[in-house]
Amino acid sequence: MGSKFGAPEKLIVNGKRLDGRKLNELRPITIKAGVIPNADGSAYIEQGETKIYCAVYGPREVLPRHLMNPDKAYLNCIYNMASFSTPERARPGPSRRSVEISKIITDALAPAIFLEKYPKTKIDVYIEITNANAGTRCAAICAAAVALADAGIEMKDLVASVASGKVDGQFALDLNEAEDNYGDSDMPLAMMPRTNEITLLQMDGELTKDEIKKFIEMNMKACAEIYELQKKALKEKYSTEKHIETGEGE
């Protein structure tokens, strides 16, 4: 899909983007809860060609022990890219980029979790990018929130996330790869949709105050859409209908 774009002359033609979407349209999103039997909670998300697994282990014993906090759980999110997930093979192991993203994902999820309910424990959130095609940090946050809920960890709300940016001078939601690479600016945002509290905000490019306002509002509206998909994924896992539909069961 995105792979043929190269460096296109125009990213938006007659109000339509190169992948056929309207400016305010999300890519197709599929979220599944409970995909990794070993984990206490897990989720899988596909957003366009971006494909991500997330597993939650915990609350469990804190290792190394000096990280233990007597007041609340230690939240440890790790964002990792499979070496075949990028156009050029990525060297296995953490990079400066993946370490930063791991940190901001931790900061984006922490406000939603009642960490004080799990003192002296550790909650591990492992994120594996298996196919990267723009918007991986935001999709990862959406999956991680579902995985945490699936693990039965007490939360104030889910966290939904999306990125949008200025492309050919216009406001585009949920950037695809070409727009991400060749667009003018990019603003990932995460929020708790129930209270509209923003838990992650990044931006690179050049935006005025009015533009920032417009982007925040655009992202918040899209987060509300994603929120419904997250809830649907959780309901699907825990509803009895699913077992009837799939028959023999997987």
Partner: protein, 259 residues
């Protein structure tokens, strides 16, 4: 756990039974999905029971090794990511991950499964380097066989990316229709041993209780291309030869999944 589990699993095996109702030489249900990932040159998702492994092939152009100036290069790597197993930790590859990658590597390399002489662009200067990366998604036992099957399936279905020889650039995003030259299909089968009983395709619980394991990669010809004994227990000569026969037979079953 193993201390209490072992007598139980062992007693069942003595009667030719297992915890999940299988016979000693039965695999769990195996499924294979080809090229689920668009970024990889070739990829495979293998499920054996609840075990799930993703294998991806990526290619690049590099300088050949001095002792094989006209042959492409194979590199097999496994990351035992903590996502897949509560006991795995983040960090550099563990001995277990390195053993897994090297056993899969030998099964493929020694069988001549990939015709590396066809992956030479310019002798002594430029050859294709083929990376096979193994990522477990859920480790419910027998990662060896899942990784082995995934590796050969991903290689068999891999295509080369475009290469611009003038500018010496690999166009990673543009795949050609040229298939990777895979000429043999080595299949790895792994057997466990508990108190003298032999069985195939161990679950996580059986792995935690077994004395030893033996992995054998077999070929269409009835020969083997790699073997590896693991675990602190032992095998007799007769046991190894018996396992070899089973391995050839099971290899045929699993090879059919690739056709």
């Amino acid at each position: 756990m193993a201390e209490t589990l072992k007598p139980f699993i062992s007693a069942l095996l003595q009667k030719g039974k297992r915890e999940d109702g299988r016979e000693p030489y039965d695999y769990r249900k195996i499924s294979l999905e080809i090229n689920p990932l668009s970024r990889a040159s070739g990829s495979a998702r293998v499920k054996i029971g609840e075990t799930e492994v993703l294998v991806g092939v990526k290619m690049d152009v590099d300088v050949p090794f001095p002792d094989s100036p006209e042959e492409g290069i194979l590199i097999v790597n496994a990351e035992l990511i903590p996502l897949s197993n509560p006991d795995f930790q983040p960090g550099p590859p563990t001995p277990g991950a390195i053993e897994l990658a090297r056993v899969v590597d030998r099964g493929i390399r020694e069988s001549g499964a990939v015709n590396f002489s066809k992956l030479c662009i310019k002798p002594k200067e430029k050859v294709w380097i083929v990376f096979v990366d193994i990522y477990p998604i859920n480790d419910a036992g027998n990662l060896f066989d899942a990784a082995g099957l995934g590796a050969i399936a991903a290689l068999k279905n891999a295509v080369l990316p475009k290469y611009n020889e003038k500018e010496d650039k690999v166009l990673y995003k543009e795949l050609t229709k040229e298939k990777l030259p895979v000429v043999h299909l080595p299949i790895m089968t792994t057997f466990g041993k508990i108190n003298g009983s032999i069985f195939v395709d161990a679950t996580k619980r059986e792995e935690s209780a077994y004395d030893a394991r033996l992995s054998i990669s077999t070929l269409e010809s009835g020969a083997s291309s790699a073997m590896q004994k693991g675990g602190t227990g032992t095998f007799t000569e007769k046991e190894i030869l018996d396992i070899f026969d089973y391995s050839i037979e099971k290899g045929k079953e699993l090879r059919n999944l690739l056709k």
